[in-house]
Symmetry: C2
Subunit: 87 residues, 2 copies
C-alpha cells in the first residue's frame, strides 16, 4: 500500500477470519496496528489477549509471537498496520 | 498521503526545522510517529524531551501538547505519522 524509508503501511480487511490456535506470527520487525473499524482480538504466546475496538492500537515488538484470535463475523474489520523498518 | 477509515498517514521530511520554544501542537486526535531516517527530538509541555533515532516511535495522546524541539540540520529527517481517527 505504501513504503517509506523501510516502513511498510498496509490496510487489512477481515470478516470473521482468525488464525488457528497455536499458529503464531513471529516477525523480524516491530509492527504498529490500529483498528479502524469492526472488532478484533489479538492473542499472544504468553496467553494474554487484547480486544480492539475502532481507534485502539497496539505495538507488537519484533519476535513477539501473536495471532489474530478473533474478528467479528458480522461486519468488516479494518486494520492499518505499520511494519517498522529494521533497526 | 493516505487516508483509511478515518486515519491519515503522512510522511514528513525535515532538515533542521524545529518549532519555536513555547509553540505547541494541541491535536484533537492521537498521533503515532515513527522516525524513518535522521535524528529528532520531541518536546512536551511538561518539560520532558524525547530523542528519536531511526526506528524509534512515539504515541502522542490527543491534546498532549508537544513540539518538534530539534531535527538534525546536517541530514534529512523522515517521519511517518499516523493521525488516529476520532474515537
Amino acid at each position: 500500500m505504501l513504503a517509506a524509508g523501510g516502513a511498510r503501511v498496509v490496510r487489512i480487511a477481515s470478516r470473521g477470519q482468525a488464525d488457528p490456535p497455536g499458529q503464531w506470527y513471529d516477525q523480524a520487525e516491530a509492527e504498529f496496528v490500529l483498528l479502524l473499524a469492526g472488532a478484533a482480538r489479538l492473542g499472544f504466546v504468553d496467553g494474554t489477549e487484547r480486544d480492539l475496538a475502532p481507534g485502539d492500537w497496539a505495538v507488537i515488538p519484533a519476535h513477539c509471537r501473536h495471532r489474530v484470535a478473533w474478528t467479528d463475523p458480522a461486519r468488516e474489520t479494518l486494520w492499518l498496520a505499520v511494519h517498522m523498518p529494521p533497526a
